[in-house]
């Protein structure tokens, strides 16, 4: 039975790895098989999985997780500038520094719950953005963004005697360049590791306690749990995931800008998680896939493309349809996203995963199979 086998972590991981690593194959027919987009899927996937550990398990809605994304990017670029173009130290530093930031911001924000917590995280995120944009220009290079340069010392590379060739060096994993498909496969492996950690957390006593905090935090106190360290550790873990995602952005494209920390970026991960299914393992990934895929398609469209699509209509009709729909594509694709988001939230409050679960349950009932209500959700 499928449910029975999906309770086994090994089975889940085998299926998941196979799906992720063969993504270039099965995304080819829908025109999503190019490295840039594939990397985006994997990187935002990591971001959303991590975010879901906080929001999905404990129910604490943070509006400031882009901060840790930005911190991860800046840290990674600094590691490229100061030490080496190898991505391993960059990623390790990024995760650590993002974790430290998450610890500080989480420690203060978690003094409050509910809407006040959300507002505190939003305030911190906007403060971090402003700091990165102006005050901390020596570290972040402000508006221009932090970039590599020929003059960078790169002490470790210099010691190892890596010759400086013409132009800017590229990020690499022990010599393997991190561009194109190798960049995607590197991100994919990180995603698989990230998913595994998330799966373990979801199915551990620690994860159960986090879900119980979401369900009834007050009762947890009277049951003998100090909920604060549970919440703080979940906050830090999700911050570290964001740091990893930020570092991978820098790995695939070594620059970091303040706009990565803006509140819209924090809002995007909230949308992704809710769209796919809060508190489910794969839901956030589905949300990422849908948003990034449609962003790619719709934002690339313009008036002439629409005329091509609708040219089967009579001329007058075509003009009307195009004049309406053109507001929903290109720069205005967020209108499409908003409409999609509203539809999902109204009809499937549990996200797309709720729809999938309902379909599976319906099919199983039709086939007369037993429906396991208590099974670990995916």
């Amino acid at each position: 039975m499928m449910n029975l086998s999906l309770k086994n972590n090994m089975v889940v991981m085998l299926i998941f790895s196979a799906v992720v690593l063969t993504a270039p194959l099965w995304l080819d027919p829908i025109g999503a098989n190019y490295p840039d987009l594939l990397q985006k899927f994997a990187i935002f996937g990591i971001f959303a999985i991590g975010y879901n550990i906080l929001f999905g398990l404990t129910g604490y809605l943070s509006f400031g997780h882009a901060t840790f994304l930005g911190v991860g990017s800046y840290t990674a670029v600094w590691s490229f500038k100061l030490f080496t173009m190898n991505v391993v130290p960059a990623i390790i530093f990024a995760i650590i520094i993002a974790g430290v930031f998450a610890l500080a911001i989480g420690y203060i924000s978690l003094r409050r719950s509910g809407i006040y917590f959300s507002i505190l995280t939003l305030a911190f995120a906007q403060m971090s953005y402003s700091l990165a944009y102006s005050v901390l220009t020596p570290i972040t290079n402000g508006e221009t963004g932090l970039q590599l340069s020929i003059q960078d010392p790169r002490y470790i590379d210099a010691m190892a005697g890596v010759a400086v060739k013409e132009g800017l060096p590229s990020t690499n994993l022990f010599g393997q360049l991190m561009s194109g498909y190798s960049g995607f496969y590197f991100c994919a492996v990180m995603l698989i590791i990230g998913f595994y950690v998330s799966l373990k957390i979801f199915r551990s006593p620690y994860g159960l306690k986090l879900i119980a905090i979401k369900s009834n935090q007050n009762r947890m106190n009277y049951t003998g749990f100090n909920t604060r360290p549970y919440l703080l550790s979940a906050f830090v873990i999700s911050g570290m995931y964001a740091g990893l995602a930020g570092a991978l952005m820098a790995v695939t494209d070594p620059l970091a800008g303040a706009e990565r920390m803006q509140w819209t970026a924090s809002g995007e991960v909230v949308l992704m998680t809710i769209l796919g299914g809060v508190g489910t393992l794969v839901g956030p990934l589905i949300g990422v896939g849908i948003i990034k895929y449609f962003e790619n398609i719709f934002s690339a469209m313009n008036e002439s493309v629409l005329h091509e699509i609708f040219n089967f209509l009579p001329q007058a009709m075509e003009n009307i349809v195009v004049s309406v729909t053109q507001h929903f594509v290109g720069e205005g694709w967020h209108l499409t996203l908003g409409a999609l988001f509203m539809l999902v939230v109204i009809f499937l409050p549990g996200g797309i995963m709720e729809g999938i679960t309902n379909i599976i349950r319906f099919v199983k009932k039709k086939l007369g199979m037993s429906v396991d209500e208590s099974g670990d959700t995916l």
Binding site: K200, L208, S215, N221, Y222, G224, N226, P229, S374
Partner: protein, 253 residues
């Protein structure tokens, strides 16, 4: 017999209302102590002062020789004083089994333990203990249902199982049978008698006199925030002040 809980001179006011006035209460180890009184007499307020939900204006609550005033609710829980709530405070989104596992985990893991790489499926002992606790209250058949979906009476029994699985040295029961059918009430009485044989001390708040007189070794009567009488069930039955304040109404009929 030693005193396990000593409430001494506890006062609590809300605005101008004296919810509790100079409460003196001693509970002996191994006994069942019932607190009765009309609605609004301050029974639940008294329990809230014991478990750290409210902090009394003055007075002391000494449990096992330690002052509980100002301690965090989770520390009071680990000290061995556990409350079963009147309005079910369960985890509605979790299954019954998980609901009972949570307090068992508190007992095992303490106030905080970071164990994200342990596998819940491999926690056999925890699983069995939780199933036993559910069986004690007759809910084992529904172990995989969501706690939010069961009846109110069943939620009360789940509450009881969640308290019992921690095997506390003092269990505070806030109207454990309210909302239960007579048959279920009798079952709960039997269960509580069984627990008493294990030596667990209990404080029980109850309106149902049948429950009180079947279980209590001692009874304290609370009216308008004061303890007006304290004694064995027989003494309380004969106390004229109690008759006037509480039982009297029934005799007039």
């Amino acid at each position: 017999m030693s005193i396990i809980l000593d409430i001494n001179g506890v006062n609590k006011t809300f605005g101008g209302l004296h919810a509790l006035s100079d409460i003196q209460l001693k509970v002996e180890e191994g006994t069942t102590h019932a607190i009765i009184g009309p609605n609004g007499a301050g029974k639940s307020t008294l329990l809230n002062c014991c478990i750290g939900r409210l902090i009394p204006d003055d007075g002391t609550v000494t449990f096992n020789g330690h002052n509980m005033i100002g301690m965090q609710p989770y520390d009071i829980n680990h000290a061995g004083m556990v409350r079963v709530f009147q309005t079910p405070e369960i985890f509605p989104e979790l299954t019954l089994l998980q609901n009972v596992m949570i307090p068992a985990l508190a007992k095992r893991d303490g106030t905080f333990k970071f164990n994200p790489f342990r596998c819940m499926r491999k926690e056999k002992a925890l699983h069995e203990g939780a199933m036993e606790a559910l069986a004690d209250v007759g809910l084992e058949k529904f172990y995989d249902q969501h706690a939010g979906s069961i009846s109110r009476g069943d939620k009360r029994r789940l509450e009881l199982a969640m308290g019992l699985i921690q095997n506390p040295s003092l269990l505070l029961l806030d109207e454990p049978t309210a909302g239960m059918a007579r048959h279920d009430t009798n079952q709960t009485i039997d269960l509580l008698k069984k627990i008493k044989e294990r030596g667990m001390t209990k404080i029980i708040i109850e309106h149902d006199m049948h429950v009180v007189f079947s279980l209590a070794d001692r009874i304290s009567v609370l009216a308008q925030g004061r303890i007006i009488a304290s004694g064995t069930p027989d003494e309380i039955r004969e106390d004229p002040k109690v008759k006037e304040a509480y039982l009297g109404e029934a005799e007039d009929e």
